[in-house]
Amino acid sequence: MEGELSVTDTGNNIRKQICPLLAPRVRFIVENLPDELLVKTEEIRLRHSRPLIIIWAGGESYLGSDGPVATPWEAYKVDGEDLEKTLELLSGYSLYAYEEELRQGYLTVPGGHRVGLAGRAVVEGGRIKVLRDISSLNFRVAREVKGVGEKVLAFILDRRMGRILHTLVISPPQGGKTTLLRDLARLISEGAGILGQSGKKVGIVDERSEIAGCYQGVPQLDVGIRTDVLDACPKAEGIMLMLRSLSPQVIITDEIGRGEDARAIEEAIHAGVSVIASAHGSSLEELCQRPIMGGLLQKNYFERLIFLSNSRGPGTLEMIIEGERGLPLYSARHGGE
């Protein structure tokens, strides 16, 4: 999918959207990093009493008061006050408003960036009640890669009927599933290019706020003009809600894994709505062995199976298979169709 990407200005986004959420001392360090480093930054890691680190594609840098340093000993050590202040700023001074997110271990902030949290879990009845004494924060920079879905869209469109085929996107973690789903939502919703002018109504059930990166319910990433997003909503309930009240033509959701998710997807498919979903996995055999996914695959609900991998960077399109007969429609190894 290389060569089609138009990555948004990550450096600027970090300065404008992430820096205001950092405690002043950390903010000063990150703000003054050279552009060439900020542009490729993927994660900013704050850990109590440990060096401030940024992670970029293929490497990491320790950050000292005046920029990157060679050893962890020279790096700026994040302290409790930095963490506490950063937590206050990124929760808008309102941790009480983010209980569910604290339970899940992440917050989404303006710009669609996600902040992962680690600390002491308070458990009640075997379930995490809340995370407290936060000791690690991981700012994951949201990257909008427009154009990744264009190639895939040609394979999942039934040109004769003008409908989107039921599709399952499969890859190991960090394989680019969510980025692909987001771009497909945008393309299908806007109806540009291959779809002609007829954009479709898209419903995204975004349980983990990853596809649309919603902040206070508003999508921060471009998911198209005819797209409705149910943010932080359990998939099964969300799909049913979509079907009942939002009349979507395409439902997009990520990481199906539970029985109720599969039932809701079946419901959507029988209701005549196209479904695009994703699942963790690296091969069809592996997926078939999992009880829920295996069940769905055996029933041949998905008309297209798309395999992604990390082999040539996140989002490498490996293979597209026709669901019912298992015929390969595209294979990276054979250089195309």
Binding site: P20, P24, L89, S91, Y93, S94, Y96, A97, V130
Partner: protein
């Protein structure tokens, strides 16, 4: 003679006004504590039913309360919204400092105000609610004391002013 009478009248009214202004301070203290309690009640509702973020909750409360308490909440909200890395406590402290002259609180009252700075936005929902309830209890106690003081001092200062003025006039005449 008329001049003397006018002078006497001026002295008595000045002395009475002085006494009245002191008694007014006690009244203001009571009113401001009542207003703050009302503000905390509103905050509990904002958190409990709306999970409203702190700056927005402060802005709503600021609009509904009378000054200077209303201004205090509005100023703190404004500081949070344009924050350059200030914590909630720092924003509250700055807003308190700005409105300090208009606040007629006792030392205990100011201590409670200061303590509120440590509480805003801290903990999960139930933690935040519990902390505010504790502060409310402290405020109610401070309010009871302020009401007692007001009852004790209101009439005393008004009479003292009036009688002081009259005594001064008698001496002068």
């Amino acid at each position: 003679m008329y001049l003397k009478l006018l002078g006497a009248f001026l002295i008595v009214s000045a002395a009475y006004t002085y006494g009245y202004s002191i008694s007014l301070k006690y009244r203001k203290r009571v009113l401001q504590l009542e207003e703050l309690l009302l503000g905390l009640e509103m905050f509990l509702a904002e958190v409990n039913y709306g999970l409203t973020p702190l700056p927005q909750a402060f802005r709503h409360i600021g609009r509904r309360l009378k000054d200077p308490l209303g201004r205090l909440f509005s100023d703190a909200a404004a500081l949070m919204l344009k924050s350059r890395g200030l914590s909630a406590r720092e924003c509250w402290k700055k807003a308190l400092k700005k409105n300090y002259d208009a606040l007629e609180l006792s030392r205990e009252g100011m201590e409670i105000m200061d303590r509120l700075g440590f509480v805003w936005g801290k903990g999960d929902k139930s933690g935040q609610l519990n902390q505010i309830v504790v502060i409310q209890e402290l405020l109610r106690q401070a309010l009871r004391e302020a009401q007692n003081e007001y009852r004790r001092n209101d009439k005393m200062w008004k009479y003292l002013g009036l009688l002081g003025g009259l005594t001064m006039v008698i001496f002068l005449l």
